[in-house]
């Protein structure tokens, strides 16, 4: 299945949730956990099922004062597509 669209509203998939392990934020899912740091953490924290991809990209572009929102869009989409294939994210 395809990458998210600009108006997709990504969220954690059922049964996936935030937790703390060794004082770091992690996302727990049925087979294990992912450590999320840096940009990945910033993206996932915005995935609340309400915000659209477009809004998430705009927020990140502002945060990083980046001049290339297209590049951010590509990165966010491929990051989320990978997590959807693992069934950690839905959109």
């Amino acid at each position: 299945m395809a990458a998210p669209l600009p108006d997709s509203q990504p969220r954690l998939a059922p049964g996936c949730r935030w937790a703390t392990h060794a004082e770091k934020p992690v996302v727990l899912y049925p087979e294990g956990m992912i450590r999320v740091q840096g940009t990945g953490q910033n993206i996932l924290e915005l995935c609340d099922g309400e915000r659209t991809i477009q809004q998430i990209v705009a927020t990140l572009a502002e945060k990083y004062a980046a001049s290339e929102p297209d590049k951010i869009m590509d990165d966010v989409c491929s990051f989320l597509e990978g997590l959807r294939n693992k069934r950690i994210v839905d959109y």
């Binding site: 059922p14 049964g15 996936c16 937790a19 392990h21 049925p30 294990g32 956990m33 597509e81 959807r84």
Partner: protein, 359 residues
């Protein structure tokens, strides 16, 4: 110091309303009166969480046979654990399931024997197939991760495509296509369960097709069975390296089957702390590292990948728990696996041993 475990398999009871011919429970099962009490399990869940365990897999037997399942799930959630329930679905009513979710259940893994009612009943030795379908629909309406587990073997592999399509309709996030592993009851029935090479090829193709077709919707977990692989798997990620199992009576073991190996004393959570059991007990230390290894493992460059394979399988097939896992093509005992495959190919109408009940 050995790194602490990440997962606990809590085998909370051996009681089960089904009698699956592929059941990997030990042939000697624990009776209800010897089971750990609710408070004992809750204490164990807190202890393992302090050790660093993240996931608890509640299994059995049928874990829903315990009337206190809600309390155990609540105890796991309170201890900060991610809770997975591995179930046949029997014993989980429409009204009980939401209570389990409220208690903190994160993930449910529902097993199916087949896509068809008659064959499912033949494999499970009891009715249950139609109820599982009803339950799957209820699961899908609740906020939890849903995996369907399908155990495959020679008697059902000829319609693997149909079984995958059947499961897709249930809309789980994950489908686990699991080849039978030959422990416990499954070992007794091995000659009727080992697939033919043609069935295996077909199954692998069907799993790969489904992976492509369902990407993003349903994840397919599939592993080639070790009777047909060149090298063994790292059983449980290595003996005493990541996972520990606690049986219904509180004995701590490195895996489901380890109880079959004679002359190992497995300590009980009733007598020792989990930390002591993990770090100090003779049973958990026995096959850690390389010192115990025979040739060809000792000088093999895969020994850090598969740790010489499964100790229980080595014992069950060769009679020696310290032997190289006989499924390895380099094992001097590998012909025993070839013989088992040939015997299965020649076997006719199954005369099963159904898994018995325990009260």
């Amino acid at each position: 110091m050995t790194p602490n475990p990440l997962a606990l398999i809590a085998e909370i009871t051996h009681r089960c309303p089904l009698h699956c011919v592929y059941c990997s429970n030990p042939v000697q099962m624990v009776a209800k009166q010897a089971e750990l009490a609710t408070e004992e399990w809750v204490r164990v869940l807190q202890e393992v969480s302090r050790l660093g365990v993240l996931h608890v897999h509640l299994t059995g037997g049928e874990p829903a046979a315990r009337a206190d399942l809600e309390e155990l799930i609540a105890g796991a959630r309170k201890a900060g654990l991610y809770t997975n329930l591995i179930t046949s679905g029997l014993g989980i009513s429409e009204t009980r399931l939401p209570k389990l979710v409220d208690a903190g259940l994160d993930h449910i893994q529902l097993s199916f024997q087949d896509s068809r009612d008659g064959p499912a009943q033949w494999i499970a030795g009891a009715k249950g197939h139609t109820y599982k379908i009803v339950l799957a629909e209820i699961i899908r309406q609740l906020p939890l991760a849903f995996t369907v587990n399908l155990v495959v073997h020679r008697q059902n592999l000829d319609h693997i495509e149909e079984m995958i399509e059947f499961i897709e309709q249930l809309q789980p996030e994950r489908i686990e296509i699991a080849h039978t592993q030959y422990y416990g009851w499954a070992l007794r029935n091995r000659e009727y369960l080992v697939p033919t090479p043609e069935q295996l090829d077909r199954c692998t193709r069907a799993a790969e097709d489904a992976q492509t077709r369902l990407a993003g919707k349903t994840r397919i977990d599939y592993v080639v069975p070790d009777y047909y692989a060149r090298y063994p798997k790292a059983c449980m990620g290595g003996w005493g390296r990541r996972t520990l199992l606690i049986d219904p009576s509180g004995r701590a073991l490195p895996c489901h089957a380890a109880g079959v190996i004679p002359d190992i004393q497995f300590d009980s959570v009733r007598e020792h702390s989990l930390e002591h059991i993990w770090q100090e007990s003779a049973a958990f230390k026995m096959f850690r590292g390389h010192d115990w290894m025979p040739e060809p493992c000792k000088s093999c460059d895969r020994k850090e990948q598969d740790f010489g394979g499964c100790r229980c399988q080595a014992f069950l097939v060769t009679g020696d728990a310290t032997a190289t896992d006989p499924v390895c093509s380099l094992s001097p005992d590998h012909h025993l696996i070839e013989i088992a495959r040939a015997a299965a190919a020649a076997a006719e109408q199954p005369a099963w041993s159904y898994r018995t009940s325990v009260e």
